[in-house]
Amino acid sequence: MTLYGFRIPKFAALFFWIVVWEIVGQFELMLLFPPFTEVLAAMTDVVTTPSFVEAARITAYCYLVGLSLAVVAGIGLGLLMGLVPAADKLLNMWVNIFLSAPLSALVPVIMILFGMGEPTVIVTVFMFAVWIIALDTRAGVQHVSPSLKEMAFSFGASRVQRLKIVLLSALPEILAGIRLGVIRGVKGVVIGQLLVSIIGVGALFSLYSQNFLMGHFWALILILFAFALSLAELIGRLEQKVEYYAGARG
């Protein structure tokens, strides 16, 4: 973007919006937005409370465990569907159903089956992340160039070798799936904690809303948003690296 011949960096737009936010807040134009400066001030308050550290720990723990399970299960499921047509025909429908289903409606079930604490949040993260990883892995496996598979076969590669080639070829799609899974997982951990029980970040949200601490509330939301965006960015970087390394595929 250039303006009067000057190049304006991409993130400049965010500053613009922050200024808009501050004005909206100062003049109390929209109830939803307290002044941004107030939110910033609350930010330090939020991160220094002892309950924040504990909430962050629980949240990070549930998130990481759920996501790791989702990555392992998603890649496994995707491989199975990509390589075994019968499995694909049986499972594809369910993967797609879970992908477009309102998963938040399932949380009450998860809650009853897995209890009120961390396991439910972990399962929620898992449910939010696993399907997209499986589907992208499946797509990656199915799009492995048939000639590359034939090549491996014709040069006498063993089964293990051939599976390795399939995995490496599908890596860009798998990573794309993981990136989406990472983002969906953050949504899962938040929804899980909000719906299930008052633990982790969910507890802080209740605390702030019961005490009418709007600034704190926004500060916590911004922290969560920043966390989600940085994670996505991180995986995006990794993805670019692989894409570059793998070159134009197919």
Binding site: F16, S100, P108
Partner: protein
């Protein structure tokens, strides 16, 4: 993979008819559903969890709620914020996305906002909305919009951006005006991806309305879920949840059908 044994060798006419039979997607779907329900029924019968009903109990509960009218009433309640929210998300999302795709300065200003909204856990805003807008329809509509709009917008934007450059050149080289370019080339070419975004948005919208009904005040489907849970009518609770999941999935697939029949003449009769 490619070395499939020809049916003629594998098993004569029987082999090939089995092959043809198994190519029918509907059959696999039914098989898949049947398997799922069977596993559900068996798991329910093992009583591994006091709150896990069998499939048939759930089905009976479903029909019970259909016939006593509570299901219908709940859906009427739930659909109101959902439809209002989705219509608003569609209108604003598609226009904002197309505007960002067509105009650089709009993209510069708005894209970061929508990227943030899409990547971030917008659900965290729901308690905040309640905080500010109370427990009425407004809050629920906003919950739907917050979840549905980002993905609709971003996909519309990407769809416009991904129109093949040679199609644009083509329209230009045949003296298309900007208006003709947009209406005759960009929008039709962008429509598949746009619709993909709309389908995702509708799915998110369902998520939003259920969340709102579970988090803000229990009404409609959310009320059925919490109520039946609170009185331990677990079959009813499962039936409600299964019905909203099925409803969302069916709505999304109907949308796909609609897209094909209205906008994709070349795909008609293919699927």
């Amino acid at each position: 993979m490619s070395a499939t044994v020809p049916a003629a060798i594998a098993g004569g006419p029987t082999g090939s008819s089995i092959a043809r039979f198994s190519q029918m997607p509907a059959m696999w779907r039914i098989l898949s559903l049947a398997l799922f329900f069977a596993v559900w029924e068996i798991a329910g019968r093992t009583n591994f969890n006091y709150a896990f009903p069998t499939f048939f109990e759930t089905l009976a509960a479903f029909f019970e709620m259909i016939f006593d009218g509570s299901m219908g009433a709940a859906y009427l309640r739930t659909l109101e914020p959902l439809i209002i929210g989705l219509v608003l998300s569609l209108g604003v999302g598609v226009s904002a996305g197309v505007a960002m795709g067509l105009r650089k300065e709009v993209e510069f200003l708005s894209l970061p906002i929508f990227i943030t909204m899409q990547a971030a856990p917008m659900a965290a805003l729901i308690p905040l909305i309640t905080f500010v807008y109370g427990i009425g329809l407004t809050s629920k509509v906003l919950a739907v919009i917050f979840l549905a709009m980002p993905v609709i917008t971003i996909n519309s934007y990407k769809a416009v951006r991904n129109v093949p450059p040679s199609l644009l050149d083509m329209s230009r080289s045949f003296m298309g005006t900007r208006w003709q370019q947009v209406t005759k080339v960009i929008l039709p070419a962008a429509s598949p991806m746009m619709f993909a975004g709309i389908r995702l948005g509708v799915a998110e919208g369902f998520s939003g309305v259920v969340l709102a009904e579970l988090l803000i005040t229990p009404t409609g489907i959310g009320d059925l879920i919490t109520f039946h849970r609170s009185v331990a009518n677990f079959a009813h609770m499962y039936a409600t949840i299964a019905s909203i999941v099925a409803f969302a999935v069916i709505a999304v697939s109907l949308l796909y059908r609609l897209e094909i029949t209205l906008f994709r003449p070349e795909k008609r009769g293919l699927s």
